[in-house]
Symmetry: C2
Subunit: 888 residues, 2 copies
């Protein structure tokens, strides 16, 4: 019989950290902490399988669940010595979601469940604090009404606001016990008025309502968005954790806090966290009150007022230090912990691997390897390759003039400039149009996720380093400044003021997330430093990986960047980019307009010196490293003007006949250019084009040989091949050109002729094609387009709907469709190597910089990936992680 | 050691009819005739392997060939008692090409080889006829100069013309021996002047020149065109036949002729042929002199003047009748024979299976099966399915008014109307623009092939039933009238006159190939009769085949035609064709312009009654037969106007906003619509569309049930699927609509939901997809486009070059690319059936009517093909032929 409920409590637990899939991250870690003997309030976890069953069976629960929950509750009552719904000695519980992967802020939490008019009185007596009891009761009504009964927060804020106004209270702390009693009554009336039925008083009814709400929230739009952004499958489901309440709001010896075992922003080995005296956890996370540092050192460093926990509650602080060290040592990773202190007694509510910036991740991994806590291989595996992206982009130049708009907390590093936008929807809209925007908010909430993702950076006026904005921004790699209290956002007027200046929507600012500063205008940026922890981890990664990493580059700038980022060659040099240059396009058009081979040859002769110079420069930069040059690929109409106006303009500027230009453009126009007259097809009909390009390559290689004494060995790549004969025909001509050039220059250049595998037929006929091709490079962009029948230019109209509805797990242009496109790659690799043992195989295109795709092709035994220069380190790391892990 | 040369002669032969691949058709049959003891001049065949070697090794001959030829020549000299190049007793030979498949008129022939100034004198003495000897000599110089030395015919015609003019001769027969001697001298001077070297006098030099020319001609443009049109691989190569000369031009007891053992036009069992007294073979084939009937009966039937061979040479005629009967009995097929009578002695020069019209093929096959010569299975296999096309198109209506332009020979049956064109290039150009043209020529030659192929019909002023025009037209299935002597074409003026009227280029005429008449204007046509031999053979074919044949049809007319042609259901009903109707397009556009589901639902509700009525009619016509309905497939922009003018026009006509229309058209515009927002993707984003279509289908089926008591069981086909989840999602909605309609009507309709497999990913994931799909229909058009990266709309720019250069064997849109697209079909069939045993599999699209494709999918064990109604009989026959042959 399936077990649906897993219990945990001090010194015992049904599960452990290995049960993450079943119990969710939170539940599994609560169980683990219990087994470690840490102080954890007792409770139980309803498994993720219940969630799966719930959705597979029309939102109904499995047989036996109710009985198991009842049994677990009974044991919880025994363990705590309290009764669920017992007016005299009430057991209160929290109900929290807990998915397999951490989804901060996405799921809903309910505290103080089990309160009603009777148990509230019981709690008051028990705690000896009527004010606390009714404050807890009103919080519960508020939370439950919002999450379970779907009522708006505003309903309650209005009631509370009126009472405060009547009494001229400035803060909640001024409300008396009687005030809270009155508030509770008004809250209940409001719920009844809104729903037509009373707020549920029965504890069990409350519990099942909360459990249902947690499961329902697994598919709410915020959760869907988060999952989509983070590639979390919907099928995983969430667990529900029911846990006896402990209270951080039972007076001045009570507190609640969150901490990281190392600094999640920089990775420094310091205990780092925030706490609030006399508060419940929601007060910290929501950023409504600004919490204080836990350690004295950090308080002094930040020059914050008030006492640190180390100073205010030294005993409990001492316990907490012991606990955090134990947890980090046990989990062998930086932990993000939540705790509550109830009347001087420490309770652990959560531990999990802490989210961190890329920079921190590198430092923590390198430090832990140095400390001997983990191996260097493990250190490499600890870094999310995606996260490196944050480090590989510019930061603010040290020489830049900094006109400070305002300061706040350095919540997420990196820098970005953009236009101020206040509304998340507007941010998303403008970003979709290609605008760089900075989202500026008082504070953020899960509803804002899409706008945060669309923004280049985020600024909030309120909230701390662990506020929603800070946590989410770090996860997304967006620079973020939090709690910029100098900033005053004028609601409804699309402007903010700071230090006496006013900024309107659309004004450009720069966010320096590393320093916690907002700057005026678009400030000069500087290149990232690729040294220190980054360089060490990358060196370890390079030592592990088998897959080579090349870059896609055609300009000298890109080639230089590629070398800087550690590329081991150029995997794709697109020669057509060289055709668009102003100096050359006239000759290119002349070639296209020529109606006889002789005319084309004459025009191509004008392009030759430019193309040769391009290659000379590229070979010079790349030195000994391999360079794969793809001969002309796009359809010729891409080089012609298309409208009558454009034709007239070009005609006037160059002296060609406007009508001839327009006629030729019309003649070459294509209904589906992706499947058209392009790639090697051009060379079959107009062989002169590749002849010229081959000549430019061989002449350039000879020139380099002249210069350095050593000729580079270019890899000449023929695009859009579907069969052996077409490749054979072109290869023969390339070889003939090589022989001609060798005769002219007296130098022999070694070279290879290979092909792109970018059409399903080429993948299927890879055996034949490999008889001619000396290497294959999978053009995964086009292979995805043809295999899936998906035009990259057009799929935007429905791809979003496909991903939202779970029809595609990920965007197939970002991460290789492994079961479709991937199978073709596998077939081609196998057949190609069977025909030509040792055939060199690589991929080029966007997927070469996608970690999942890199892992996939590493698994297939490919030789290299090639990606844009900025993604080379990501690919290097992903390639190392793809090597099967060996624990030392 | 490879044997390069195979000898044959009376009573002996190295090879036989089974060696066609090695010796070519002509060589193999010459050997076979020798073994049968028929009178064949001795000779030898240089094998096709020499041709293959020749092209594989830079046009050089294999080692040992020269020695083998010398040896064979020595034996030929011994057998004939003559010496090659011997001035006293010269051996003359013919040199002819002979490919594996008959390629009439494509390859070059040289007669009388071995003649020079000395051997000509020898021949004169030997034959006792100096005039004959020098006539033969000048013919040889003419032929050899043209074929081997590449000199123009005109050079010689001018010399001959001048001499005739000087002497006021009207015909060649008036030239004396001395005249021919003078002509020969002038011919040789002309050759020397043109080439700078004398005409080769050495017999061996002549022979090797001729052999080289035959091999070279294998790749001349005419041969390439013929091979392309007839799907003959270039790799086959040609053999060369060297044979002792016999002379049909040695006086009144000599003759030459060609004959068919049955009438190749109608299939009637009569001996049928033409001959010329005192002529060489070239005179008959070239159509320069009009030959006479061989039999008396035929002469009387055609009311021609002169004597038949039966009357003029009764003894030899008797021998010939014996020979033809022996040959037909031996080969068990209608034979096309060539013979020469030298001074009363019969020599057989060739036998081969005779080309015939489709009608004749059916009659001959059916007759031979009735005669017991072949089995019914063999009869079915004898019919080229492509050829049925001729029979399945209209002929001239019996009631039509016939205004006769002129009469000629009924050279190839069928009828067609079109514009008069005199130039083959112009015919090809106009046809490419979609014009129906009739090619009118004095006579045709191999250079005209492309124009003949482009024309709907062919008319020649000269030439007989076996002239080039007649043979080629029959092979191509083009109606043809030959030897229309009443017609006078005015060279260079683009007009002809006949019976006192003048017809200019562009005037419309109708050709009745069956009657041999050219008619004024475009005459009324009638439907083909599908009875008689056709019906008998089709019935036998239906008894043999396992593959079902359905039709692609959506209109009542097409559905009715489908049934008439024997379709066993509809395999593809394209519902979008129903959307374009004038009455509906406004609602379709309203649907596309709606920005909310409710707006789309309202617009779709207007289309529903039309769509339902369509299906009611279709179900009614198809009765019990299955009907596969494909839900909406094309991108929505196809239903919108595209230019501003069109938008304004539609706006004015329908009252919608022109700007909204244009904006929406722009928004929906696609770079690659083939890979765009179409097929099931529409239904994922706009599920209302398929909901409406499903409702229309179920309501129509219910209405038919009401009418007939039996509901049809529609097969609902979802296009452009790439994965299981998208099909599952749509299937669920279709089932929901079915349940709704069942509830409303109280009738349950049985139905299946299946999918098109038209994208490589769908083929690869066929196992998953088959878990949802109840049938697969391979959309081979789109599967070809995506697998090969080949847009059907755009590939015209290079597909011709690919086929000409041998890079594609055939047009992949005509015949399935078996090794690429075909492998995906195979994979999908295997995986689909593994997941769902008995899964119904079919193909729809153009390939369903292509015999090679039908044979291919029959081999894969598919259940059915679906093609256009007119091609259904072709598919039925091809399906029967795909069944492995069992000799009774």
């Amino acid at each position: 019989m399936t077990k649906w409920v897993y219990r945990f409590g001090p010194g015992h637990a049904d599960g452990d950290a290995g049960h993450k899939n079943l119990l969710g991250g939170k539940g599994a870690n609560l169980a683990e902490m219990c087994s470690l003997g840490l102080p954890v309030p007792a409770g139980f976890t309803i498994t993720t399988e219940v969630c799966t069953h719930f959705y597979a069976n029309g939102q109904s629960y499995p047989d036996g669940l109710k009985a198991e929950v009842a049994e677990a509750l009974k044991k919880l009552e025994a363990e705590t010595g309290r009764g669920f719904g017992d007016p005299k000695n009430p057991l209160l519980v929290s109900v929290r979601s807990g998915a397999r992967a951490s989804m901060p802020g996405m799921m809903d939490t309910i505290l103080n469940l089990g309160l009603n008019d009777e148990t509230a009185e019981g709690l008051a007596k028990q705690a000896g604090d009527r004010r606390f009891a009714y404050d807890s009761y009103r919080r519960f009504i508020q939370m439950y009404s919002n999450v379970v009964l779907d009522l708006d927060h505003g309903l309650f804020e209005e009631i509370l606001g009126s009472l405060k106004d009547e009494n001229e209270y400035r803060s909640d702390t001024e409300l008396s016990a009687d005030d809270w009693v009155a508030i509770v009554a008004k809250y209940k009336d409001a719920v009844k008025a809104a729903l037509g039925r009373p707020f549920p008083a029965d504890a069990h009814e409350q519990l099942w309502g909360a459990v249902g709400a947690v499961f329902a929230s697994w598919r709410n739009p915020r959760a869907n968005t988060y999952r989509r952004l983070n590639n979390i499958p919907e099928s995983w489901g969430t667990a529900v954790n029911v846990q006896a309440m402990v209270f951080g709001n039972m007076g001045e010896t009570s507190a609640t806090g969150v901490a990281f075992t190392r600094d999640p922003s920089t990775g420094r080995k310091i205990f780092y966290g925030e706490y609030l005296i006399n508060a419940q956890g929601e007060d910290v996370v929501a950023g409504l009150r600004t919490p204080k540092p836990i350690t004295k050192a950090w308080r002094e460093e930040t020059k914050e007022g008030g006492l640190s926990m180390e100073e205010a509650l030294p005993d409990v602080y001492g316990q907490l230090v012991e606990v955090y060290k134990k947890l980090e040592g046990h989990y062998r990773d930086m932990q993000d912990i939540e705790f509550t202190v109830e009347k001087g007694r420490l309770y652990m509510l959560q531990t999990r691997s802490g989210k961190r910036t890329a920079k921190a991740a590198l430092k923590i991994a390198a430090d832990m390897a140095d400390e001997g806590l983990i191996s260097r291989d493990e250190a490499v595996k600890r870094i999310d390759p995606h996260s490196l992206d944050q480090l590989l982009h510019p930061t603010i130049s040290e020489k830049a003039h900094r006109d400070i708009v305002c300061k706040g907390l350095p919540a997420s590093p990196g820098a970005a400039a953009g236009k101020v936008v206040f509304d998340p929807d507007e941010a998303a809209e403008l970003a979709a149009k290609g605008e760089a925007v900075i989202l500026v908010r008082d504070e953020t909430s899960p509803e804002d996720i899409h706008g945060m993702h669309a923004a280049r950076a985020i600024v909030t006026a309120r909230g701390g380093m662990t506020s929603h904005a800070a946590v989410v921004a770090r996860g997304m790699g967006r620079p973020c400044v939090c709690g910029a209290a100098e900033m005053r956002i004028v609601a409804g007027e699309d402007r903010f003021t700071a230090r006496g200046r006013t900024f309107k929507k659309g004004d450009v600012i720069t966010v320096d997330g590393a320093k916690g500063e907002v700057l005026m205008g678009a400030v000069e940026m500087q290149e990232p430093e690729l040294t220190g922890d980054f360089a060490r981890i990358m060196e370890w990664a390079d030592g592990m990986r088998k897959l080579k990493v090349r870059a896609n580059a055609e300009t000298p700038e890109d080639a230089a960047a590629a070398r800087r980022f550690g590329a081991e060659g150029i995997g794709l040099c697109r020669t057509e980019h060289m055709f668009f240059d102003d100096e050359r396009i006239a000759a290119v058009r002349e070639m296209i307009l020529a109606d006889k081979p002789a005319g084309r040859v004459a025009a191509l002769a004008k392009i030759l010196p430019f193309q040769r110079a391009d290659f000379v420069e590229l070979f010079r930069i790349m030195g000994d490293l391999p360079v794969t040059i793809r001969l002309l690929d796009p359809p010729l109409h891409e080089f012609l003007p298309h409208t009558e106006e454009d034709c007239a303009e070009v005609a006037a500027a160059t002296g060609v006949d406007a009508k001839a230009l327009m006629d030729r453009a019309r003649e070459l126009h294509e209904v589906n250019p992706m499947l058209g007259f392009r790639g090697c097809r051009l060379a079959i009909v107009y062989p002169e084009i590749y002849d010229m390009q081959a000549r430019a390559i061989f002449e350039a290689a000879s020139a380099i040989a002249e210069e350095t004494g050593k000729a580079p060995a270019p890899e000449i790549m023929i695009p859009f091949v579907v069969s052996r004969p077409e490749l054979a025909r072109i290869k023969t001509r390339v070889e003939a050109v090589a022989a001609e050039v060798a005769k002219e220059t007296g130098r022999t250049v070694e070279f290879q002729v290979g092909t792109m595998i970018e059409l399903p037929r080429a993948a299927l006929r890879a055996d034949e094609i490999a008889e001619e091709a000396e290497f294959f490079s999978f053009g995964t962009n086009d292979l995805t387009q043809t295999t899936m029948g998906l035009s990259r230019d057009d799929s935007g109209k429905f791809l979003g709907a496909y991903i939202d509805k779970g029809l595609f797990e990920t965007d197939p242009f970002v991460s290789i469709d492994q079961s479709g496109v991937g199978e073709l790659i596998k077939i081609a690799a196998e057949r190609g190597r069977a025909a030509r043992p040792g055939l060199k195989l690589g991929i080029c295109g966007e997927h070469g910089g996608d970690p999942a795709s890199v892992a996939f092709v590493a698994g297939l035994g490919l030789d290299y990936v090639s990606c844009s220069p900025f993604r080379v380190p990501i690919a290097r790391l992903a390639a190392a992680q793809a090597v099967p892990f060996q624990r030392e």
